[in-house]
């Protein structure tokens, strides 16, 4: 497996090399030391392991609209907006993630094995986001499509202004955001949660005991009668 050391290479050189790899190739990025913008803009189906903590936007703008893309693993913690606008492939974080994990991601799977900070899954547009631990306040804010699975507890304002994304929470919910409601889970939900539990490896989640949060769809059309909800 090829190794790229951040001690020897700048971010531009690392990403340039990653962009040049072809489908099926594997590469290890060593000594990231929290560097921002590692492994961004990769469209090919390569395997990237980042061996340490990474900064903002790791795995951002990756993948293609057909759902294909790289499989990226970060053996450490990550900064803001991991896997933002992911189109396909996967990003797995062995540690915890800072704010806006998976923001606007349109496809693929994002797995945070630890906790995710504020606004996880903000503006989500079709991707699957699985968080093993807790998720911070305002997670799922304005999420349009896709699935968010929270293995621990959810903070305040969960699912505020949701559109059609669905949130499942194994632990407690501090509070729901505007226009978010709890709905009974059905067979389709069970299947979706079990599939994501299997994909993420989060065996601590009992799919039959999650709480499902969806949009009440009361704010889909403007009305000044809703002025207190905004």
């Amino acid at each position: 497996m090829e190794s790229l050391s951040c001690d020897d290479l700048g971010t531009r050189a690392v990403n340039h090399r990653l962009h040049a790899l072809t489908d099926g190739e594997r590469v290890q990025v060593l000594h990231p030391r929290g560097r921002h913008n590692l492994a961004v803009g990769i469209s090919r189906q390569i395997a990237v392991t980042i061996d340490g903590n990474a900064g903002y936007f790791v795995g951002g703008l990756c993948g293609s609209s057909d759902g294909s893309g790289p499989d990226i693993v970060v053996n450490g913690f990550v900064g803001w907006s991991v896997a933002e606008n992911l189109m396909g492939g996967s990003v797995r974080v062995r540690g915890s993630a800072s704010q806006s994990a998976g923001s606007s991601a349109r496809g693929g799977t994002i797995v945070i094995e630890g906790d995710a900070s504020l606004r996880a899954g903000i503006s989500l547009k079709g991707a699957k986001l699985a968080i093993g631990g807790d998720a911070g306040a305002m997670s799922g804010f304005m999420a349009q499509s896709g699935v968010i699975l929270i293995g621990g507890n959810a903070g305040h304002g969960l699912g505020d202004s949701l559109y059609e994304a669905v949130i499942y929470v194994a632990g407690s919910i501090a509070s729901l955001g505007s226009d978010a409601v709890i709905e009974e889970i059905g067979d389709e939900d069970l299947r979706a949660v079990k599939e994501l539990v299997g994909e993420s490896g989060f065996d601590h989640i009992d799919a039959t005991r999650v709480t499902k949060v969806v949009s009440a769809r009361q704010l889909y059309h403007f009305s000044t009668h809703n002025h207190g909800a905004y």
Partner: protein, 449 residues
């Protein structure tokens, strides 16, 4: 004063338009939402005049001596800066707000005159990419339809922080315009009143913006210019922060800038006019020693060659047109040319919207009588792409010639050589805002500090 005249006095606090607005809100329970830009009177470029050549300056021959209009944007970091043949670009307007045919027509027109056009809040359509030889891809807070594959085929990237019509506010697309194609591109249910985000989901503040810009550069191999667009409010701070964050180009959009739909209260009461904004932005670049290295694009109510020339004289490298380009497409015309060559009168369609040609700002309704701001197939078919694109190209060429006419008369062989010294103001307000002398005096209000 007669008794009648006394009784008919207009109340200056509650004139008829204010009374009508209150009645409308009381009847409907809704605040006004509309398209286009500010209607209120604000100081504009019309309040400036050129001090063209005489004894102390000599002019260039009109229609003889060359006056350069070529404009390069993005030379700071990009390995492929954009070269425009004219200093006028087409502003970002979304597919969704505009029909796909209108977007295509704008792209064709821009290509014909060698300038760029810009995507909008609905992502990049294949028609638009194909029609536009130079296409600027916007990164908006909503990220509707944002696709890294489209990013890689863009000629420049514009991070939209704000818009002159609604700085601090997100866009709107009312349900009647959210058809199946628009909804699919935006990953939203058809028919909902769509509320674009006002803040980016993945970063906040100037330090984050620096990292965001680096991310976009990494994803595009540092090839294309990165613009940062702001609505004109705290222009001095915003321009300096955008430059510090690494922008190649700063776009400043004044309050007269248009929109497809937003709250009237935003359009009329947020932001500052383009006139002071351009001078503030140019001075901010000057102060940090970045004039020439970072280019300034100004937009917001630019309508004519005179406006363009004055913006350039005050420090812009280029201007961007939105509403004017739509008008050139046929917006607010009372008829359209049908495929059989017949002119079809649409006065009744305007009347059905409670407006008339020349006053229409009903873009938000999706019922555009001339097929520009609509997603209705029948209405959209009213816009003939070839004819409309030629109209816009005509307008851009004629406007550019107005710019060069003024530049030559000021003795400039390049439109970018126009300078504040070439201008005088007709009002005290304009003199203070543009920081040029009141005509007939050497007085610039507020100067020296």
């Amino acid at each position: 004063m007669t008794s009648d005249a006394f009784d008919q006095q207009t109340n200056q606090s509650f004139p008829p338009d204010v009374i009508a607005r209150i009645h409308q809100m009381a009847d409907s329970g809704q605040y006004p939402i509309r398209g286009l830009g500010a209607r209120r009177k604000v100081p504009t470029f019309d309040d400036l005049v050129f001090l063209t050549a005489s004894v102390s300056r000599y002019p260039l021959e009109g229609y003889r001596e060359r006056c350069e209009t070529r404009t390069v944007l993005g030379s700071r970091h990009a390995t492929r800066p954009i070269t425009l043949e004219i200093p006028i670009t087409i502003a970002g307007m979304s597919f969704g707000a505009l029909s796909a045919t209108a977007k295509e027509a704008l792209g064709r027109a821009a290509t014909a005159v060698g300038t760029s056009t810009t995507t909008g809040d609905g992502g990049m359509t294949p028609e638009e990419r194909k029609a536009s030889s130079l296409l600027v891809y916007q990164v908006l807070p909503s990220r509707y339809g944002f696709d890294p594959a489209d990013l890689r085929q863009a000629d420049a990237v514009e991070i939209v922080v704000g818009q002159g019509a609604k700085p601090g506010g997100g866009g709107m697309l009312l349900g009647q315009k959210v058809n199946a194609r628009v909804a699919a591109m935006r990953t939203l249910p058809p028919g909902i009143d769509q509320r674009s985000a006002s803040r980016h989901p993945d970063w906040v503040g100037p330090d984050d913006l620096r990292i965001k810009i680096e991310e976009l550069r990494e994803a595009t191999e540092w090839a294309v210019p990165i613009y940062v667009k702001v609505g004109a409010t705290r222009v001095d701070h915003d321009v300096k922060l955008a430059v510090a964050a690494g922008a190649d180009v700063v776009v400043v959009d004044g309050m007269q800038g248009g929109t497809a739909a937003t709250q009237d209260v935003f359009i009329e009461h947020a932001g500052i006019p383009t006139l002071p904004a351009v001078r503030m932005a140019a001075e901010a670049l000057e102060e940090i020693g970045m004039r020439g290295e970072v280019q300034l694009v100004v937009s917001g109510g630019i309508r004519s060659g005179a406006d363009v020339a004055k913006a350039l004289a005050l420090g812009a490298d280029a201007v961007s047109m939105g509403v004017a380009a739509l008008l050139a497409l046929g917006c607010n015309r009372d008829s359209y040319l049908a495929a059989n060559g017949e002119m079809i009168n649409v006065v009744a369609d305007y009347r059905a919207l409670s407006t008339s040609a020349g006053h229409c700002a009903h873009c938000h309704t999706g019922r555009c009588p001339v097929g520009i701001t609509t997603q209705d197939p029948e209405l959209e078919s009213r816009l003939d792409v070839a004819r409309a694109s030629e109209s816009v190209a005509n307008f851009l060429r004629a406007t550019t010639m107005e710019v060069t006419a003024l530049a030559r008369a000021c003795g400039k062989s390049d439109v970018h050589h126009l300078e504040p010294e070439d201008l005088a103001a007709l009002t005290v307000e304009a003199a203070a805002m543009a920081k040029v002398p009141l005509a007939g005096t050497n007085w610039i209000p507020g100067w020296p500090h």
